[in-house]
């Protein structure tokens, strides 16, 4: 991201040099504390499995191999979990982006009767909810437990995103829409043909926030899903963290026919399986985040604007 350089102007003096050293050192330390765990996961997932199981891979990958990534998908259900994660991220993000764009736009329209009442009702849900159990009971009654759509439907209308889009639309010139209206375009046409293309910057922010939330989501599976075929990667990783025994068994299964010829360095261990899944889960974030950092930053700045 680019922040304007407004560092306090300073003169070169002995105290300033000492300050700079301490300051730089502090931030180097904090950045390492934040960054090293990710590096640790990655080097361990590609190092010799017998070494990583002992915790001996600390600074550099040793005995590099990619067997873990080819064998991991031999684990029962893992490919399915990857597909569930991808499906909920793609469908959920698409639905939220479209809904946020449409509602954010509609809530600026005076021709919508009781517009501010509807808007308040939507925004109020940001500050108030009936509670974990009543929501669970409702979702259960609707037949959405053990149903893929429980990942999508409750997440479609996001008040925060609607605020972002609405304030953005209000900053666009009103003449955009007026011109189309004079040409006789209906509200849906105006939305899709005129407004949507002009909203892309804010929709990128909405999309990136929503995609990360969907990819990372774990609590909805915990509450509403018992069917293993609907587990996303996050939940699969959590179960592996808590089932050391079944994991060792799974490790043997994953080995399959290769078991006989595999060396100690490529034999799957509980550690290697955990590390590899963790990297698969975190890699999209690591790659996507730096590229889209400015959208995240824009989101938090706009989000600070009152509804």
């Amino acid at each position: 991201m680019t922040t304007k350089d407004t560092g306090t102007p300073w003169r070169h003096a002995r105290g300033d040099v000492a300050f700079a050293i301490v300051n730089y050192a502090g931030f180097v330390l904090f950045a390492l504390v934040c960054g090293y765990p990710f590096y640790y996961l990655i080097i361990n997932s590609i190092s010799a499995n017998d070494l990583s199981a002992l915790g001996d891979v600390r600074l550099f990958p040793t005995g590099i191999h990619l067997e873990n990534y080819t064998q991991i998908f031999g684990l029962p259900g893992l490919t399915g979990s990857l597909l569930v994660s991808i499906a909920r991220t793609v469908i959920g993000t698409g639905a939220t982006v479209l809904a946020s764009a449409f509602l954010g736009f509609m809530f600026t329209q005076e021709r919508l009767r009781h517009r501010s009442l509807w808007y308040r009702l939507v925004i109020f849900t940001m500050y108030f909810n009936a509670g974990l159990i009543p929501v669970y009971v409702t979702i259960h009654t609707l037949g959405l437990t053990n149903n893929f759509w429980v990942y999508i439907l409750p997440a479609i209308v996001q008040p925060f995103n609607i605020i972002l889009v609405k304030t953005y639309v209000e900053s666009l010139p009103a003449s955009l829409q007026e011109a189309a209206e004079i040409d006789g375009a209906g509200i849906v046409t105006i939305f899709f043909r005129i407004m949507l293309p002009n909203m892309t910057p804010i929709l990128a922010t909405v999309a990136i926030f929503s995609a990360v939330a969907q990819w990372n989501s774990f609590q909805d599976t915990l509450l509403y899903i018992t069917d293993q075929r609907l587990y996303p990667l996050q939940y699969r990783l959590y179960t592996y963290l808590n089932q050391a025994n079944s994991l060792a068994q799974a490790a043997q299964n994953a080995q399959g026919d290769l078991g006989a010829i595999a060396s100690a360095a490529t034999t799957q261990t509980p550690t290697s399986i955990r590390m590899t899944i963790a990297v698969i889960v975190v890699l999209p974030i690591i790659f996507v985040y730096p590229l889209f950092q400015r959208y995240f930053v824009k989101g938090i700045m706009l989000g600070a604007v009152k509804g």
């Binding site: 700079a20 640790y40 021709r111 009936a130 509670g131 009543p134 774990f218 938090i300």
Partner: protein, 338 residues
């Protein structure tokens, strides 16, 4: 609540630099701008029809559950449905205040909840100082690298945070094996499976995840401070720390106060994910915050109705807290915060 159209807007009391897109445009306030009004200004039922499906979604997932509050009066069993469950009146409310063990348990849960919230509030100045000191660094590449690395943890799930904690701090994790290899310990130290320092450990993980990201808003606020202020203060002979103390800090304070008031309003809402993933048989007594407790007794302890009672009380108290926080903000700052 000031959700009215055209109410004065501001970015949490911070000035946003011009040229940051819509945020900059917003600070001018949206007053007087009315979009999409047809010359005759009539409302159209068709407009409502196209919005309706989304309003139904909001109603179903956010307002319909309020009906679920009646389960507090039943001995609710999901398999039987509400019709088949026994009506018990205020039995759960009585249990809540009459049973001694229940009271003690809830007492401990409240202590945990408030402890985590207050520790969070006590450390809420850290992102502000992070931003102030990072701002003192001139090398842009260094600042950007630090920012990218320190905000990254905010974007991973709590499951992954626990995975990291597990691989670093379990008895066979990196820290224990390293200390062992260096001959500093002979018996692995228990960092995770212990009832010692649970609150501090939880605080440390939420700081690890949140400080870098929390600093972003302050950094943006700093870049909105008029450079002329610094120049004139420097001409008057102010040193670095005086500039930080008398110019940067006061400009960040309004943002800080708003976030502080909001976090006081959220004092009962710790969320459950962090505590759920770190929870185990050893630390359960100190890690159960209200949100986790409601989950534990409702979803695993098979008392959905008692959990509903707690959910309900929590929602109502939180709402009352938020309203009072908002009223305080209105009185102190002249504008509401929500």
């Amino acid at each position: 609540m000031s959700l009215t159209q055209g109410a004065p807007r501001e970015v949490l009391g911070a000035r946003v630099p011009p040229g940051t897109g819509p945020a900059g445009a917003l600070t001018g306030g949206g007053r007087g701008r009315r979009r999409g009004a047809k010359p005759h200004g009539k409302t159209s039922p068709y407009m409502f029809l196209v919005v309706c499906p989304f309003l139904v979604l909001v109603f179903v997932f956010s307002y319909l559950p309020l009906l679920g509050w009646v389960t507090a009066l039943y001995d609710y069993k999901p398999a039987l449905g509400l019709g088949g469950s026994e009506f018990v009146g205020l039995q759960w409310f009585e249990i809540l205040v009459s049973s001694r063990t229940q009271l003690e348990q809830i007492g401990q849960v409240m202590v945990n909840t408030l402890a985590m919230s207050f520790l969070g509030i006590a450390t809420s100045l850290l992102p502000l100082f992070f931003a102030m000191f990072l701002n003192e660094i001139r090398a842009t590449w260094f600042r950007n690298t630090v920012q990218t690395l320190t905000t990254l943890p905010n974007f991973i799930s709590w499951v992954l945070v626990y995975m990291i904690a597990f691989s670093l701090f379990s008895t066979s994790g990196l820290v224990n094996t390293t200390l062992h290899d260096w001959g500093l310990i002979t018996v692995p130290m228990k960092f995770l499976d212990t009832d010692q320092h649970v609150w501090l450990t939880m605080l440390a993980w939420s700081l690890w995840k949140g400080v870098g990201w929390g600093a972003i808003m302050y950094l943006a606020a700093i870049s909105g401070i008029d450079p002329a202020l610094y120049e004139s203060a420097r001409i008057d002979g102010a040193g670095r720390f005086q500039l930080m103390r008398y110019i940067t800090f006061p400009h960040l304070l309004p943002t800080f106060v708003v976030l502080l008031i909001l976090s006081i309003a959220n004092i009962l809402n710790n969320g459950m994910e962090q505590y759920y993933v770190f929870q185990n048989a050893f630390n359960r007594e100190y890690i159960q915050v209200l949100d986790l407790y409601v989950y534990n007794i409702g979803m695993t302890g098979n008392s959905l109705s008692l959990a509903t009672v707690l959910s309900m009380l929590k929602s109502l108290i939180s709402l009352a807290l938020l309203m009072s926080a908002n009223a305080i903000a209105k009185r102190v700052r002249g504008t509401s915060i929500i």
